[in-house]
Symmetry: C2
Subunit: 311 residues, 2 copies
């Protein structure tokens, strides 16, 4: 179904491109950007649908609440901005009013508190039988800190924060009924790289940045397309405790994918570790052209890599 | 069900009130307000659920697209601000992908074009069998133009734009299968008072303002509560072509409800008519205390007035 999602979004973006933009930058990044003098506001939205993004039987209401916030906060972090507020809309069938709704709000609140973000608006409504959740996250940053997908430069080191693959390994565990593995728990409880994103925003050596929601194999293509560059990725460098396919084509890791001036990568990685406790690992290089090349210990491999979409 | 919606929202607002607000004003108005120097951004969100807010058989996809935008734009107008952009999330079951989705986007686009608002972000996803739509509207205004529900003053004239009741009359027509009456069409195609809202924002004689989404009988109570005032409303003054109950307790008119310095009401009404072609009608007065009194040709009436909610 992946083509239809991107095609539909592409059609919509083309249709609206002629309308007045009132200062907003064009669609295409993790967040939309509204410059306001020396500062910028960034905004993003994600919709979570019962039985598509979560199962009431497999995730607790608190976990759904936490994850609804985190997947949006992650997009703000990916811009180099600090999340400041959210708006929450929720459609609740009768079976989820009362206890489920209250537990959901507890999970959403605890995550908001931990991240220091306000809830500034929302909507609640009934629905026939499924829960739908929509979150908008708003971030703020000095204009100079904003990182875009379009700023990768040939020769840049391609880097990722943390380790990849745990979330999709957890999804597979859940599908097999193993709800209590550490990977399954990690899948249900996304953790956004908030401190890391805001910190990386302050570093001019960081060029392009985005969050990893569909897997690096799919996500790197957005950077390649918008920056007009290619990429080489060394599979043996991808940091993971799991099968390499989870780490490259599995979604929902919510780590950050970024390109860094190759001469400054080591210094940035060391400083990030010191500031946040999070590792930064070089997994490849930005190249001229528009192809992606996968290497396995230096040798080209024709393994087919695909990310996944929700539509 | 109305108590549960407001109680749940009240609980949520209380829960989050201790978190850092990052400059956002407290929840409770048509939009949240973020002051940015001399300017303010305002934001609002509404979720529309199939079979709760619209029926696929009774509204065309274009009409649903138009209305999804308009109900949000209306909240921006109610703050005295100019709508500049929206974010749109939409969950589509397989039966609504393709033709329905494209027609929906045409309706949303045509309304966006007419109102001059950009589409700056969004999300599309699959759903099991019902359509869910979430829109966020963003507006901008000089900080001094922002109108709040909390600024009504004792002695103010209570005024409404245009005429009331057509939308709920139209809903009743639709329920009886009369889909093509002018009221039924008006119900399916909400028209926000965009120009009027932005114009009224520039007038310091206008104190409190909100849009009429649940009927004046319900909506005036929000102004009373937040301003700490009472109200007297004269039924014979309420501008309507329909039964007075549609005009007072019917929802979704999306006209503006405002309080105006009583000595300046006539001047403001005349200038608004000249600037926008829209009438402003005085229907009552803000009083001391916290009660609402309904008069019928000057005589107290104990008719029970209720607005409606969606939950």
């Amino acid at each position: 179904m992946k083509k239809s999602e991107f095609a539909f979004i592409g059609d919509i973006a083309a249709m609206f491109s002629a309308l007045p933009h009132h200062g907003f930058e064009p669609i295409g990044d993790d967040c939309t950007v509204l410059p306001m003098g020396d500062e910028a506001l960034v905004m993003t939205t994600d919709m979570l649908v019962e039985d598509i993004h979560f199962l009431r039987g497999a995730s607790s209401a608190e976990e759904v609440g936490e994850k609804s916030l985190m997947v949006n906060i992650s997009d703000v972090a990916a811009m180099g901005a600090k999340p400041i507020a959210t708006l929450l809309s929720i459609a609740l069938p009768e079976s989820a009013q009362g206890e489920w709704a209250e537990s959901f709000m507890r999970g959403y609140y605890e995550a908001s508190k931990r991240e220091g973000v306000a809830l500034v608006g929302g909507d609640t409504t009934a629905s026939r039988d499924k829960i739908t959740i929509n979150v908008v996250a708003i971030g703020r940053a000095p204009m100079a800190n904003i990182k875009r997908r379009s700023d990768a430069k040939v020769g840049d080191a391609i880097c990722v924060t943390g380790k990849l693959g745990i979330s999709s390994k957890g999804l597979v565990d859940i599908m097999f009924g193993d709800l209590n593995t550490s990977a399954a728990k990690a899948h249900r409880r996304a953790q956004a790289r908030t401190a890391e994103g805001a910190w990386l925003g302050t570093r001019s050596e960081v060029h392009a940045m985005m969050d990893i929601s569909d897997g690096i194999a799919s996500d790197i293509k957005h950077i390649m397309e918008l920056s007009g560059v290619g990429a080489t990725i060394e599979l043996s460098s991808v940091p993971t405790d799991y099968d390499i396919r989870y780490a490259t084509t599995g979604g929902e890791d919510y780590e950050l994918l970024l390109t860094v001036d190759s001469e400054r990568y080591e210094e940035v990685a060391e400083a990030l570790l010191k500031a946040t406790g999070t590792t930064l690992t070089k997994i490849g290089e930005i190249t001229a052209g528009n192809n992606i090349e996968w290497l396995d210990n230096g040798k080209p491999t024709d393994i087919e890599m695909r990310g996944f979409t929700h539509f």
